[in-house]
Amino acid sequence: MKRRLLFLLLWLVLFDRAVPRLLDAAERRHYEGTTVFRFENSDLFGLGPFVDYLREHPRHERRRVVFFGNSMLFGYFLAPEQAIPAQYQRFAGDARVYNAAINGQELGTGYLVGKDILDDVDVLYVQVIGETANPLLPSLIPVSDADLLRFDLERPERAERRLQSWLGRVWQMYRVNYRMQAALFGTSARIYVYMHKRDLARLFHVRTLQPESFPPANGGISLRAPRRPGVAPVPTERRRIMGDLARLARARGKRVVFIEFEWDNSPHDDAEVGAFNAAFAPSAEIVIVRLPKSLTIDGEHPIPAAAAQIAEALARHEREAAR
């Protein structure tokens, strides 16, 4: 028994020495490859490893464009290549486009993630919806004390964090196990197994969320980014969060594009948006994407043809902004 225990320990030590190289190869393939990047099953798991990777690899050969938002940008009901960010890739030259959207996330999460990765990307698209930040975020990415207070988040248990940090220093596999799973599977190992189980479910003809076919495109989307200097109204908390990220982008020479979707029943106040854009463009800008109900699957999420139109309009607007 003693011999078996020693053998197990020796195997763990030897394997641990190879972990950094294995992780490097897996992450390079996952984050810098050419396949469509989207969090599998739209789960939060991949967000921490994604932020860690960008922060550790700030220098990159290709331009980096990151989309952050909720199911609208994630592409709920859609295959990864049908979602807005993947369609944007077609108009973005050799840039690497990351779909970092996660169902149900609000502006607070986008702001905190944006703050962490702004230095490591070229263009950041943040969807504007709600204000809150996901309560799990402090255990995934670095969040300052001020932001914990601002978004009413709980600090991760300190003793547990200290122990994790200590163990991570002596045991590589422990430290990078989340990153390794994200790099190998695009998500956690359990979600990966689950996704493959879902393939099995399809074999047995269990109905899944993905519709068999989509309605044809009827009508078109429109995009506008009003810019009208004037007296800005008293900012809401949402605008304050956006303003803070915009100021950060300006200070660091980056560009943040806030996407606000407009449906038939939710018209935007162009004057208010115009004042924001006049104050922060070109470092930050709000673009209003009008999406007719006829181009949605469920009154909210775009059909693939609409996602393609949105992606093209965003890319065109970006080219014009660059000029």
């Binding site: 225990l5 003793a159 190992a189 197994v193 109905r207």
Partner: protein
Amino acid sequence: MIFTELRFVALFLGCWISFFAVPRRFRAAVLASWGAAFYAIYAGWFFLAVVALVIVAFFSGSRWVAWIAGLATVALLVYFKASLLVPLGFSYLAFELLHVIIERRRGRIAELALVDLFAFIFFAPARIAGPIKRYPAFVAAVRDAEPSSANVYAGLLRILLGLAKKFFLADVLALTVAERAYVSSTKHAWIIILAFSLQIFFDFSAYSDIAIGLARTLGIALPENFRAPYFARNIREFWDRWHITLSHWVRDYVFTPVGRTLFRTSLRKTPAVIAVISYVVTFTIVGAWHGLTPAFLLWGVYHGALLSLYHVVRLKTPASIADRPWYGGRAARAFGVAFTFLCVTIGWVPFMLPLPKAAKFLALMFGAAR
């Protein structure tokens, strides 16, 4: 999962080292100290309430003190079960404490040492999700525990088995169970409930495996909690294989006393009625132990009814049928296993969902349109 938190691992390592570093007579004190530290960290202020309960239970040699300790434990358990916010492991802890109080009154625990009682109540591996221990066996196991690499190796393997069950089976199945939010067809509903049936087994038995494995590294044998329950040939056998320590606890402290009391009444002429009442009362309590909600109570009553039905059918089966060779044959046994699994699986619906949703889910399972 507390078992994988580093604070827990650090505490257990500290406990493990000091357990074997001190003379044998101080081992219970070591377990009590580390266990108390663990419970104070994870249960917060409630730790003090448990300390008070344990001290009162220690004096349960006196009849009145025993009543006070027992009622206080039950009252706290009912209060937390009703609010559905039970402090860490209190459901298990309360039943262990009641066991000590009852057995003390019955005279089966002659010697009770306060330090042993604290070690028993705060024993960290079993404090999270059982198994429900018995005091005499635990004290003897602590006294006789020997450090050995065989125990450490066997314990680690059991822990690994538990972790694999939890992370590779239970947690993956949980994702299928989560599809209940948008269950769309009869077939989908059956897949979800089958997934739940397996998930709850793998999840719960994983916790038991880890607890038993951790204790084994200390050389302490904890009682087994599961014995391939889905291979049971009838519902009674199922409860002999599922959450064994709980079913043995309710057998000893609810079923048998209720049956014995009823036997002293005019019902003694109809033992089948006594059995039915005892089963239903016992399993209503088992349902309430899981949570004081209509859905858990219904689940308990359902199992009480199944056990009663099995009891009556078994009593009324004529010998001319029971003696036939096919009655105990392979095909009959396979049918028994499949039928028991089906009954148990249908019963998991109110365990998985609150009552109104459970009713809709059951209707969908049996063909009603959503």
